[in-house]
């Protein structure tokens, strides 16, 4: 199977994630889309690793997964806190920072 197909899949997943971040209001969904974008990048790294025949891309994929795990912990905590204080998980409601 041609490795380029994995790259196409990666680009497709990244695009879906990016569109989701911009379009959706629910913080949980936005969050899931961010994860989708991260994993799309991971897929690309692993694919390039396979193409080039070395392990660099796979090592970076592991780093990304660790960072993503940390991000999930902090991000979910923030979302839960916002939901508790505002009774809403919409990212558009939490727009008080500019004032």
């Amino acid at each position: 199977m041609d490795a380029a197909n994995y790259l196409y899949l990666s680009a497709l997943l990244f695009t879906i994630g990016a569109v989701g971040v911009v379009v959706r209001r629910n913080a949980i969904v936005v969050f899931m889309c961010v994860e989708l974008m991260l994993n799309a990048a991971n897929l690309a790294f692993v694919t390039f690793s396979r193409i080039n025949g070395d392990l660099n891309g796979q090592v970076i994929a592991f780093f990304t997964m660790v960072v993503a795990a940390c991000e999930v912990v902090v991000g979910l905590a923030i979302i839960v806190t916002i939901y508790r204080s505002r009774r809403s998980a919409s990212v558009d409601d939490a727009s008080l920072l500019k004032r």
């Binding site: 911009v22 936005v30 990212v91 558009d92 727009s95 008080l96 500019k98």
Partner: protein, 629 residues
């Protein structure tokens, strides 16, 4: 050159008095006047001691110096704060401290009703100290310190009763007009340093022998500007009349006898510059001649006794400046007239103060009359001063003023004839206005109001007047007997060959006396034979009206300097507001405006930020792709 350690006491004593009186405040009210007078008198004693020491030495070793401290030492520019007492300075020292002490004594009584008498004496002491520094400084820079000091003291004393706005304005006017002169002096010092490399009298004298005439002319003209400011000479004369707002002892000491003669001192002290710069010297003569007539004409129309005397002072200093401008032959006569004038004019001012004292501070001579009977001592002392200023032999003015007239006639050519006629004319007008003052004040019918009770002044006031009157009678004879003063001062000035005498001294004296007699006669017929009105008549000739307004000097200054100055400053203020402030405000407005435009981007919506980041990243990648392709 002899050195001495006691010169500094001349300045230190009155300065100590001023400091104590100013710092002690009200606590010194009881004894302040005594301390002030004692300090002035002890400075006089030091002066007399110095004179006796000086008399015991030969001509060459007479000047005494004292170095106080190294003042400025920058590269090649070295100025020591040093004092120098020579044959010229000692004349001034004795005049300042002598007349000054008499006026201190007079003021004890004259100012006894003023609750600020202590402050008055503090300022008087300050003036004495500054004036002594002026005549004792051994360089132009030291002189400048004293020059500014007397300006300050003059300002403080003219505005002594500054609760009256007009008096405060008068002091400000005097100060501002003096500043113009002071600028001249500072320019002269700068030019002297730039071209001659030194500012000490000895150094400038030595350097002036090799200096270019142009530089010396520039220095001379600037010194003349300085002299016109301080000595109330044309064209900076307008402040002296208003300066009469000060208490009368101040008018006598500062604005008649001493400070206003500082210009004559400056020119005489700088004789080596003027001798080498004929143009500047000619200007000095012209200024003197103009002021001489100017002051005399103003004097004819003044009803205020002090302003009439002030105009006379202006005119007499014009004589001195003219004398000093005539070169080596005239310096000594200028100084002689300065000394005799110090006696008779101070005496007359104190007399005017005595009259005011007895007349509830009335200064309008039209409200006087017949005071001879009520104030015999004042009449006698004032009368002796009157005879002295007229130049009636053997009173003081006869010896000093006739010498200046004679020297003017002998100046040679058309210049001599013009100057001679001007000085003679001045003498005639002087006779007219002084006779007018005498007649209006002391003779005729009484014109004062019922509530005024004229009386003779107390001993402390008439004693100084009497001593000054003795000086008015004898000083001229004593100073000119055997050419005493001329020989005394001769070592300081350049040699002058014997002038061909175009007119014999006897002829000049007779001419002067004839002119004076005419002046007296006109005044006599105009004011003694006719009724004098208590209120100044309005239907007078246009010349009288102009003379009453000081020959339009204030109007001229306002039109030529003040109004354009005001226009200039208001234009500058507008420019400042429009251009400078506009630029500053514009920068602020620009930052504010661009900020509020950019603020629109910051919506606070996370999704819009995300979209922007996305677009940005896409553009960046597109750009990189475009470049690398």
């Amino acid at each position: 050159m002899t050195t001495s350690t006691s010169l500094v006491y001349l300045i230190a004593l009155p300065l100590f008095g001023a400091t104590v009186l100013l710092l002690a405040g009200r606590r010194a009210d009881k004894w302040g006047h005594i301390l002030g007078t004692a300090m002035s008198a002890s400075a006089f004693a030091v002066g007399v001691y110095q004179l006796t020491q000086m008399l015991g030495r030969t001509n060459e070793s007479r000047p005494v110096t004292q170095k106080l401290f190294e003042w400025i030492s920058v590269g090649s520019f070295n100025v020591d704060a040093g004092l120098m007492l020579d044959q010229l300075s000692i004349c001034f020292v004795l005049l300042i401290t002598g007349v000054g002490t008499l006026i201190h004594i007079y003021s004890i009584s004259y100012m006894s009703h003023d609750h600020d008498r202590r402050r008055f004496f503090a300022y008087l002491n300050l003036f004495i100290a500054a004036m002594l520094l002026l005549v004792l400084g051994n360089s132009y820079l030291n002189l400048y310190v004293g020059w500014e000091g007397v300006g300050l003291a003059s300002y403080l004393l003219i505005g002594f009763w500054n609760q009256k706005p007009a008096y405060a304005t008068a002091s400000k006017k005097a100060f501002v007009m003096n500043r113009i002169g002071d600028m001249g002096l500072s320019f002269a010092i700068m030019i002297a340093f730039a071209t001659l490399g030194t500012v000490s009298f000895d150094g400038v004298k030595a350097a002036s022998e090799h200096a270019s005439t142009a530089a010396l002319t520039a220095i001379g003209i600037m010194l003349l500007v300085a002299a016109t400011g301080k000595s109330a000479q044309f064209p900076l004369q307008a402040w002296l009349g208003d300066a009469m707002a000060g208490p009368t002892p101040v008018s006598a000491l500062i604005h008649a006898a001493t400070m206003v003669t500082a210009g004559v001192y400056l020119i005489t002290r700088s004789n080596f510059i003027f001798d080498a710069a004929p143009t500047a010297q000619l200007l000095v003569v012209i200024v003197g001649a103009i002021t001489l007539l100017f002051g005399a004409l103003i004097g004819t129309a003044k009803d205020d006794i002090k302003k009439a005397l002030a105009a006379s002072t202006m005119s007499q200093i014009g004589y001195m400046i003219l004398g000093a401008g005539l070169g080596p032959v005239g310096y000594a006569f200028a100084i002689m007239h300065l000394l005799t004038h110090g006696f008779f004019k101070a005496g007359m001012f104190l007399g005017a103060g005595s009259v005011m004292h007895g007349m509830n501070d009335e200064v309008n001579m039209r409200k006087y009359g017949a005071l001879r009977k009520y104030m015999p001592i004042t009449f006698a002392t004032f009368g002796l001063g009157y005879l002295a200023i007229l130049g009636v032999p053997p009173f003081a003015g006869f010896y000093s003023k006739d010498k200046i007239i004679e020297t003017a006639f002998n100046a040679g050519g058309n210049k001599g004839i013009i100057l001679g006629i001007v000085t003679l004319l001045g003498a005639g007008i002087t006779a007219f206005y002084m006779t007018r003052v005498m007649i209006l004040t002391f003779t005729g019918k009484s014109r004062w109001d019922d509530e005024v009770h004229p009386h003779e002044s107390p001993l402390l006031m008439w004693l100084p007047m009497a001593i000054l009157a003795v000086g008015s009678v004898t000083s001229g004879f004593l100073l000119s007997n055997g050419d005493a003063l001329v020989n005394w001062l001769a070592p300081l000035f350049a040699e002058h060959g014997e002038h061909a005498e175009r007119l014999q001294p006897m002829v000049v004296s007779l001419l002067a006396l004839a002119v004076v007699a005419v002046g007296i006669a006109i005044a006599f017929f105009k004011y003694s034979r006719q009724e004098v009105l208590a209120i100044a008549p309005e239907n007078v000739s246009v010349f009288t009206k102009i003379a009453r307004q000081d020959l339009m000097q204030d109007k001229f200054n306002e039109a030529v300097f003040m109004r354009p100055g005001q226009l200039l400053t208001s234009a500058l203020v507008k420019t400042d507001e429009a251009v400078i402030d506009g630029a500053v405000r514009g920068v602020g407005q620009m930052a504010l405006g661009s900020g509020s435009v950019l603020r629109g981007i910051q919506t606070g919506f996370v999704r819009s930020y995300a979209a922007l980041i996305l677009v940005g990243a896409a553009l960046l990648i597109a750009a990189i792709w475009m470049v690398t392709q």
